[in-house]
Each structure stands twice: as structure tokens, then as C-alpha cells.
């Protein structure tokens, strides 16, 4: 809460009560419901059956028979005629695709073995021809397929790779590289479907073992399931429902939650013009199941919420209400880390209305949100509430697209599912794009301010960034373009003792390339100057120059060379720091499909004009492999490889140098199977 001066009040209430839900029971119920549905009778494909449809009088028999349901993923099709058509006059279509070049002519007919898996369901076979007298012949028949007797569609596949690595050479002082290591990794996925109901799963099992401890990080020794998703779906005419458990992605609105990939449960339902969603996921990102599957509701680190939506097609408008609540006490988790260390808690509610005023040309999107957020549940301060809202007009007219937006974020607005997001800001934004035959142009112009509550104890900052990006594509072999950025940041109403801020930053980028069949090259240069207009005059400048060269001299050989120079200068002290980085990437097959040689190397030099930095670093990773595939069945793919890692670091200021070379021998085996 805030007092009349805008300051937070101290805590008087205790922690919020937690909630609990038996997620496991809900998921099990949904799967049982999807599985135990009545099944239609099926028939196995047997001999060709006579065709009694009077419109197909010249087709004697066929397999499948008209309206027959056959079992199989690639059922063979056989058709026989009462009399053969004129040679070369026949055209055969399967579901609108001409398969005539793929059929095998037999006496008085043809057979066809599908190239691709035939999707379960109804199919149409059409045959067009002329008889020897020149009369048109036409026939069509429908049939159904399903993958198995029990299930309309069923498939399972696995792709596993096992790698055994032994170290042939390593430096004596390297105490972390193992002498022997085993890694097994792969993906397993499957799907079953019957009518409108479908169940699928995907998982990535791994196994890692070695004779030295693994470094601290996200990979641990032993067997694990790195990520998984179980999915049940019902696609009825009126009712659609989907339930997912595992690593799910949650998306609601820009002010509540977007692209949140976490372990948990998500359910979506749609009936007519209405839609409901529910989710409960762990707040931190977790991978693997050894520490937790994510089944249990964790009171200190869970985000739960849902939405209700209504579509009004008559006025081309969608309305959506969203609510979520959560707690997060994580700091460093898989792929994410941040500065906040307390237990964050919060609720968010939002209402969004989207309307296609003129379809595709003028789309209006409005959202208003309310949040309550506490950045540290354990401290003396209570949660604070605030609001945010936006109005967005966008559309496309011929070659032009535009987006005009007004946004307001309250001083304390924050969503527990969008931590670190924008707050205390109000402004307008305009982006425009134009795509012509030989030109493309993008413009971004915005103006925003902070201190939206006009507190006299803090200054107000106005920021005006403008950018322009242009590309000329008249010559496909010579793509080129440039971009310009200009930003003004200025404070006003500074309280006593506060140094004003007045900076203007300009950035200019140019790029050009040349593309040929066997090689391509490109150059990109960026220069940025920040002009500090205050008395401090702390100007800085920087340059970034990158050259790219890619060669494909022969098939199966690709070489890329990318030198890059980054320069940063303090205009006040006149000290410049230069960093040169050159990266080399080689992918090759000295003997096609038999010997593989790949290499990636980098050379980095950092140098400062005041001699505070002078270092060189060289790193090389390479692999030379021989495929043993020819000696094994096609579903096995074994390889033997020699791998090397080299790193050299030289610090000329500290006068130190380190050198590490490690060589490995690896046996790799890949196996794939599928049903």
C-alpha cells in the first residue's frame, strides 16, 4: 500500500494463504475420458472386391473396395478394369495428387504402393482415361484407412545416440577433464488417435556418466528425462479440449504472461464462441525429473491462473479476461538469473478487447490490467498495487504495415509472470514498414517519460528514440542496407542535489554483401557516439566492424571466416580499447559419407591504449570421424571419431601464459526405430 506521499506502508498482514490442487487427479481423469470411448468396427484389407457403383461400370474390382475401411499406414491400392483403357490415356489421382507416374501397370489394371504414410481417414481415388474408341472413362471411389484395429492412428518413434569417450591426452594440471565418459541422449515420441480424441507424448531421456565430477551447472550424472510433454486432446464439432502436462508454454496477454515455458499443467477448452484456459506451473525453469517431476504444488514457487474468452464474430471482436497469482523465490535457475533475491509474490488481472474494425487494415487492441506485487515477502513492506493499460492500432495496407500504440505502466505495476518488465513509464510508439520490390523500409519513433506519478522528490526523464532501417534488394547478389538510430534522454524538474542528465546518442550501421553460388561475403560496420551535454561531458564512442566470408568450393565442404573488430573509446580520457575476434568454421567430408572433418576456432586479442589490457586467446575444437554405417544394418549408425580441444591464453600485462591440449577418442552409435 502507499501513503499520501507515495511511500510504501509497513507490513501488518501475514503471508497469503496457499492454495492446493490435485493436478495429478485432474490429468488422470482427462486421459481416462479420452481413452475409453466407443470404437467403430474395422475391416482388414483382403482381396479386391467388385465395384457395384453404376458410375464406375468400367472398373471391375478394386482394393480397397468402395467405402471399405482398411488397416495400414501404406495400404496397397489395386484396381482392375473390365477392359483396358487406351495406352497412355490414364490419369490416377489420390486425394487430388497425380500419382500416375508412380503406379505399376498390370494386366487390365494397376497397383500403387503409397510413398508417404497415408493419414487415417477418408480418401478419394479418381481414375480418368479414354477407351480405344476415344470415349471418356471416369471412375472414383472412396475408402477409409486406419493405422491399427484398435486405434485410428498410432505411431511411436525413438532416436537415441550413445557416445563413449576416452581421453588420449590431456595436460597434467587439468583436473576436471574425465578419462572416460558416457553420454546417451535421444528423443522418444508417440501418438494415438481415435476419432476426435488424441493422446501424444514427447520426451528427451539422457544418461551421463564420467570418472570426474561434472562442473557446476545444469547437467548432472545419471539417468534423467530432460524435458517431456504429455498431451491429450479432443477435437469435437462443438467442444474442443486440450490438456498438457510437462514442459508447457503459457501465453495469455502482454500485461499478464507471454511465452512462459515451465513445468506444470495447462488445460484449454473451447465451446462455440467461448474459450477457457487454466494453468499451474512452477515459477523457476527446471529441467530433468530427478529432483522433481513438477507434479506437486509448490507454495513458494508456483504460478497459477487462467482466462475466459468470448468471440463475437458478428462484430469481429474478441474479449478476454485473465487472472494469475504466484510466488517465486528463485534466483539462479536453468537459463535464467537475476538480481532479486527475495520471495516475490503477486496477482495480476487484465481485460483485453481486440477488434478487427477493418479486417487486416485496422485492428484495435485494448488492454487494462491491475497488479498487486511484493518484491520481498519477508521484508517490512507490504505488497503494492498499480495499473497498466494500452491502446494499439495496427494494420496492413498493400505494401505498408503500421502499429501505433499508447502505453501506461504504473510506478509499481509488475506481473509475477513477467518479472523485470516495464514499469513507471508512459508513452507513444509508432512503427511502420514498407516492402517494395527492390526496397524495404522500417521506421520506429517513440516518446516516453517516467515518474508517471509526478513525485517531486525525483526528476522526470523524457526519452525520444527514433530509428530507421533501409534495405535495397534490387540486386539479389548484392544485398545492402543501412540503419540509423538517434536517441535523446533529458531530465527536468530535478530535485536539489540531483545532477541533470542530457545525452544524445547517434548510431549508424551500414551493411553490404555479395552472394555467388560457391561463395559469399559481407561487411557490416556500426559507429555509435554518445554526446553528454551536461557539464560532466562524459562522451563515449564505439565502433563494431564485422567481415564475413563463406566458401563452398566443392560439395560437402563449407568454410566460414568471420573477423570482427570492436573499438570503445572514452572521449574524456582518450583511452581506447580494441578487441579483435576472428572465428573460423569448417564443415567437410573429405570422403563423402565416410570421413567427416569439422573444426571451429577463435582467436581473440584485447588491447587498451593505456596498456591496462593486452591479452590473446586462441581456442580450437575439432573432430575427425569415420562412419561405419556400411557394415551395419540401416537402423544403426556407428561412428568412430578423434576429437581435439586446444586453448592458449596469454596475458602480456601480467606476463602469464597457459596452454591446454586435450585429445579424445569417441565411439558413437545412433539407433532409430519407429512404428
Amino acid at each position: 500500500m502507499h501513503d499520501e506521499h507515495g511511500n510504501r506502508t509497513t507490513r501488518t498482514a501475514n503471508k497469503k494463504t496457499g492454495k492446493g490442487a490435485d493436478m495429478k487427479t485432474c490429468w488422470l481423469f482427462l486421459c481416462v475420458f479420452l481413452f475409453f470411448l466407443p470404437l467403430a468396427p474395422v475391416y482388414a484389407q483382403e482381396e479386391t472386391a467388385p465395384v457395384t457403383d453404376t458410375g464406375n461400370a468400367w472398373i471391375l474390382s478394386s482394393s480397397p473396395a468402395p467405402n471399405e475401411e482398411v488397416i495400414g499406414k501404406k495400404p496397397e491400392i489395386r484396381v482392375f478394369f473390365t477392359s483396358p483403357p487406351a495406352p497412355g490415356s490414364m490419369t490416377v489421382l489420390l486425394d487430388g495428387t497425380d500419382i500416375t507416374p508412380m503406379i505399376t501397370l498390370v494386366e487390365n489394371g494397376f497397383t500403387y504402393k503409397p510413398v508417404f504414410i497415408v493419414a487415417p481417414g477418408t480418401h478419394e481415388l479418381s481414375v480418368l482415361a479414354t477407351d480405344t474408341a476415344g470415349n471418356a472413362l471416369q471412375g472414383a471411389l472412396s475408402f477409409k484407412t486406419r493405422h491399427t484395429k484398435t486405434l485410428e492412428e498410432a505411431s511411436v518413434s525413438a532416436d537415441m545416440t550413445g557416445i563413449y569417450t576416452t581421453t588420449l591426452r590431456k595436460d597434467a594440471h587439468d583436473g576436471t577433464t574425465p578419462y572416460n565418459a558416457v553420454t546417451v541422449e535421444g528423443t522418444v515420441q508417440g501418438k494415438i488417435r481415435e476419432g476426435a480424441n488424441e493422446f501424444s507424448f514427447e520426451g528427451s531421456p539422457v544418461y551421463v556418466e564420467q570418472d570426474k565430477p561434472l562442473g557446476t551447472g545444469s547437467v548432472e550424472k545419471g539417468l534423467d528425462l530432460r524435458s517431456f510433454v504429455l498431451r491429450g486432446e479432443h477435437k469435437g464439432d462443438q467442444l474442443q479440449a486440450k490438456a498438457e502436462f510437462g514442459d508447457v508454454s503459457v501465453n495469455e496477454t502482454p500485461f499478464t504472461v507471454q511465452s512462459l515455458l515451465r513445468r506444470g499443467l495447462k488445460i484449454n477448452m473451447g465451446y462455440g464462441n467461448g474459450a477457457l484456459s487454466f494453468f499451474t506451473v512452477r515459477a523457476p525453469a527446471i529441467y530433468g525429473v530427478r529432483n522433481t517431476w513438477g507434479l506437486r504444488y509448490e507454495e513458494d514457487s508456483q504460478i497459477t491462473g487462467g482466462s475466459a474468452g468470448l468471440s463475437l464474430p458478428g462484430i469481429r471482436t474478441d474479449i478476454k479476461a485473465t487472472f494469475l497469482t504466484g510466488e517465486d523465490d528463485s534466483t539462479l535457475t536453468y537459463g535464467i538469473s537475476g538480481i532479486e533475491t527475495g520471495r516475490r509474490t503477486g496477482d495480476v488481472a487484465s481485460l483485453q478487447v481486440t477488434s478487427q474494425i477493418i479486417p487486416a487494415m485496422l485492428i484495435a487492441d485494448f488492454e487494462a490490467a491491475y497488479s498487486q506485487y511484493d518484491f520481498d515477502d519477508a521484508d517490512a513492506f507490504d505488497e503494492v498495487s498499480d495499473t497498466a493499460w494500452r491502446v494499439d492500432l495496427s494494420g496492413a495496407v498493400n505494401e505498408y504495415t503500421y502499429d501505433l500504440k499508447y502505453e501506461y505502466f504504473g510506478r509499481d505495476y509488475e506481473s509475477i509472470a513477467l518479472q523485470g518488465g516495464t514499469k513507471d513509464r508512459e508513452g507513444i510508439y509508432f512503427t511502420g514498414n514498407a516492402m517494395f520490390t527492390n526496397h524495404s523500409l522500417s521506421i520506429l519513433a517513440s516518446a516516453f517519460r517516467d515518474n508517471v506519478d509526478d513525485l517531486s522528490i525525483m526528476p522526470r526523464t523524457t526519452s525520444i528514440p527514433i530509428s530507421l532501417d533501409y534495405n535495397y534488394t534490387r540486386f539479389a547478389q548484392v544485398p545492402m542496407g543501412f540503419s540509423v538510430q538517434h536517441e535523446i534522454i533529458k531530465t527536468k524538474d530535478e530535485p536539489t542535489g540531483f545532477d541533470p542528465v542530457d545525452t544524445m546518442t547517434d548510431s549508424l550501421t551500414g551493411k553490404i554483401g555479395y552472394v555467388r553460388e560457391k561463395w559469399s561475403t559481407g561487411l557490416q560496420a556500426t559507429y555509435t557516439y554518445m554526446n553528454d551535454k551536461t557539464g560532466a561531458d562524459l562522451d563515449t564512442s564505439s565502433g563494431n566492424y564485422t567481415f564475413t566470408l563463406t566458401l563452398t568450393p566443392v560439395e560437402n565442404w563449407t568454410i566460414s571466416l568471420v573477423p570482427n573488430l570492436v573499438q570503445q573509446k572514452n572521449e574524456d580520457t582518450d583511452v581506447r580499447t580494441d578487441t579483435y575476434t576472428t572465428t573460423l568454421d569448417l564443415r567437410s567430408q573429405p570422403v563423402k559419407d565416410l570421413i567427416f572433418w569439422d573444426l571451429m576456432a577463435s582467436y581473440v586479442v584485447a588491447d587498451a591504449t593505456d596498456d591496462s589490457i593486452d591479452t590473446e586467446t586462441t581456442t580450437v575444437n575439432t573432430r575427425l570421424a569415420y562412419s561405419l554405417k556400411q557394415f551395419f544394418p540401416p537402423y544403426l549408425n556407428p561412428t568412430i571419431a578423434l576429437k581435439g580441444d586446444y586453448q592458449k591464453t596469454k596475458d602480456k600485462i601480467a606476463d602469464t601464459e597457459t596452454d591446454n591440449l586435450t585429445i579424445f577418442l569417441a565411439f558413437e552409435l545412433n539407433a532409430k526405430f519407429g512404428l
Binding site: N7, E340, G420, M530, Q568, T619
Partner: protein, 365 residues
């Protein structure tokens, strides 16, 4: 009288001697004690509503004799007063020790400290350290909106997939185009300096000016893309060099399988030429691709690119049957065509772009 004069002279001499002794003692005392440390920066803006990180560098002008140590057991945030009279609103229990004239720390100004200051009606406070043998240091901290706070990072999120934001993937060997992304949330604006690292190998340096938007998204380059030639797991990080961060850099993992991703080559369409008007019985031909077991030729309407007709063939040529032309095509109207090549395992190994054509209208009698 003479005795009195002597006594006076003696007194003067004693006073002078005493003064000189004091002076000499003071001189050596000063010579053996540091003056107050100077710091960079001297003032910093801390963001309201979030924590701020700033790198502080202390310079001590004079150091006590060889082997002496300059140390500070803790720092504290003060609303008013200094040292023992400090009205403390927070403390940093991290000792600093040096035997040189330099010392540094990465200071996190917690959001709670800022809140305490504001609650008491202050829009600024100080951070103080007292160094044994080093003197007293004080940093002035102003509370400001995030856009003009000291340039500092608040949060880093890594992911591979721009749409689903997956932070772990498994790809086939030699998969091309794998990119890593980093969403970096920050206060203020300034030069972001860092590099992308894969298994200890630097693949790109980043040095760019970030505007006052609060968030920037970086990605690994297209050339070279993330290395996928070595089966096994690989660790990706974005290492931040400047501004200095107080939190550990996150990492994420990608796994490379032992099967090679089928290389997709560009398939060249031969006839008809792009954009030509052709007779109804004109053949469509393309380049033969090694290992292609079957080709799928597709025809689409130019206005919306929806597929209207397709055919399978093992040859590198196809002619649309006369019985199909009337049903699926209209003379004079523009259509697009393209070809895909599949190997024996039904993997796409070659793909063409889209070329346009139109059928000539029949000549009027």
C-alpha cells in the same frame, strides 16, 4: 636579571623544541597514514522499484609501509550522519582487503534500501566504507526512475526458440541455423559489452549501445551458427563484461544427436522460365538431385499461394494431363510451381523456390 633572561631563553627553546617534536611526529604520522580514498564513480543514481548494481573502484593515494593491509569489514547505507553517527538503512557484510593502492567491489543497492529511504522522505542517501589504513569513503546515491539510473543489469533469460522460448533443445548433427537468444533487462542506458560462449569457445563479441527501453534481445550470429558437428551436450552462455553484474551468469544446454540432418540443397527449376506464358502441353523440368527417390511438384494460386494441385514422380519432368488442366487451371491466370526432392526415408533433401507461369489462352477462331 641575567638569570631571568636565561630562563626566558630556555623557555623559548623548550617551546620551540616541543613544537618541532610535535611537528615531526605529525609529519611522520601523516606520512604513515593514507588520506581518504577517492572513488569512481563519486555519485550514482539508484532505480526506484528495483535493485541497482554499480562497480565501485577505490584509489588510495598513500599506502602504509611495505606489506601493510588496507581493509574494510563492511559497508553501510546511511540516510544521515557518518561512521558511528550513521542512520543506517542497510548493511553490506562483505569485507574488502588490499595491499595495493586499488580496491573494487560490485555493489548491489537493494530495492528494500531504496524503499526505506523513500519511506523516510529522502530522495538520496550515502554508501560508506571505513578502511583501516585507508581512510573513509562515501558514495552519494540519488533515487531516480529506472531510465536514468546507473546502467546495470537486472535479469538475463536465455532461450533457443524465439517463439516457444525453449531453453533446451536436441538437434541432429550438422543442423544449420541453431541460434541462442538472450533477453537482458537493465536500468538506465549505456554500452553493453559481452560475448557468446559455447563450451568455452567465443563465437561472437557484442558491443552495442542500448537505449532506455529496459530490455534488449541479443542473438548469436547466423555465421557462424552454433556448432552442431560434435554429438553430445554443449553449454551456451552469454558472458557480460560491462556493466559488471552482481549475479551469476545463466547457462543453457543443447544436445546434438548422432544422426546427420539431411542436407537440403537448392533444387534448380529448368523449364519453363520464371514468369513465362506457356502452352498447355508444356513440360515442367528440373535439375536431377543425387539420392532423390521421388519428387513432389506442387502448383499454387499466385494470389494466395494455396496449393491447388500436385503430383508425384520419379522423373525430373512432368506434364499436366489434359484432363486435369480444365479442372484445376485457368488460361491467362498466374500460377506458381515448385519442386521438393525426397530420399528413400522420405526426408526432404532438395527444395526449389517458387516460379510463376501462366497458360496461354486458346487462339480465337
Amino acid at each position: 636579571m641575567q638569570n631571568s633572561d636565561c630562563e626566558v631563553n630556555s623557555m623559548h627553546s623548550k617551546k620551540t623544541l616541543l613544537f618541532l617534536c610535535i611537528l615531526i611526529t605529525a609529519f611522520f604520522s601523516i606520512a604513515s597514514t593514507s588520506y581518504g580514498a577517492s572513488t569512481t564513480p563519486a555519485t550514482v543514481n539508484a532505480a526506484y522499484g528495483q535493485s541497482t548494481t554499480v562497480a565501485l573502484h577505490y584509489t588510495f593515494p598513500v599506502v602504509v609501509g611495505a606489506g601493510a593491509t588496507i581493509t574494510s569489514p563492511y559497508g553501510q547505507f546511511c540516510l544521515t550522519g557518518t561512521l558511528a553517527a550513521c542512520d543506517s538503512i542497510g548493511r553490506v557484510n562483505m569485507p574488502l582487503t588490499t595491499t595495493t593502492s586499488l580496491a573494487s567491489e560490485v555493489l548491489t543497492i537493494p530495492q528494500a534500501v531504496v524503499e526505506r529511504a523513500l519511506q523516510r522522505g529522502f530522495n538520496s542517501f550515502t554508501y560508506e566504507r571505513n578502511f583501516l589504513n585507508g581512510g573513509f569513503y562515501s558514495l552519494k546515491i540519488n533515487i531516480t526512475p529506472g531510465s536514468v539510473a546507473a546502467f546495470s543489469l537486472r535479469r538475463i533469460e536465455l532461450y533457443f526458440d524465439h517463439m516457444q522460448r525453449k531453453n533446451e533443445v536436441m538437434v541432429q548433427r550438422n543442423h544449420r541455423g541453431l541460434k541462442a537468444y538472450a533477453d537482458i533487462y537493465y536500468n538506465g542506458s549505456g554500452m553493453l559489452n559481452g560475448y557468446w560462449e559455447v563450451d568455452g569457445l567465443i563465437i561472437e563479441r557484442v558491443n552495442r549501445f542500448v537505449l532506455t527501453g529496459g530490455k534488449v534481445t541479443l542473438s548469436t550470429p547466423a555465421v557462424p551458427d552454433l556448432p552442431t558437428f560434435d554429438p553430445g551436450y554443449h553449454i551456451v552462455k552469454f558472458i557480460v563484461v560491462a556493466p559488471e553484474t552482481s549475479f551469476e551468469v545463466p547457462e543453457m544446454v543443447y544436445w546434438v544427436k548422432g544422426t546427420d540432418e539431411p542436407a537440403r540443397r537448392a533444387l534448380v527449376l529448368t523449364t519453363p522460365q520464371d514468369g513465362t506464358d506457356i502452352p498447355a502441353d508444356s513440360p515442367f523440368t528440373w535439375e536431377k538431385m543425387e539420392k532423390a527417390a521421388v519428387y513432389l511438384i506442387s502448383f499454387a494460386k499466385a494470389e494466395d499461394k494455396t496449393i491447388c494441385f500436385s503430383a508425384l514422380t520419379r522423373d525430373t519432368a512432368y506434364r499436366i494431363p489434359a484432363s486435369i488442366l480444365a479442372e484445376y487451371f485457368t488460361a491467362g491466370k498466374k500460377f506458381l510451381w515448385s519442386v521438393k526432392g525426397y530420399d528413400t526415408e522420405n526426408n526432404i533433401i532438395a527444395e526449389s523456390g517458387m516460379h510463376s507461369f501462366s497458360f496461354r489462352e486458346a487462339a480465337q477462331p
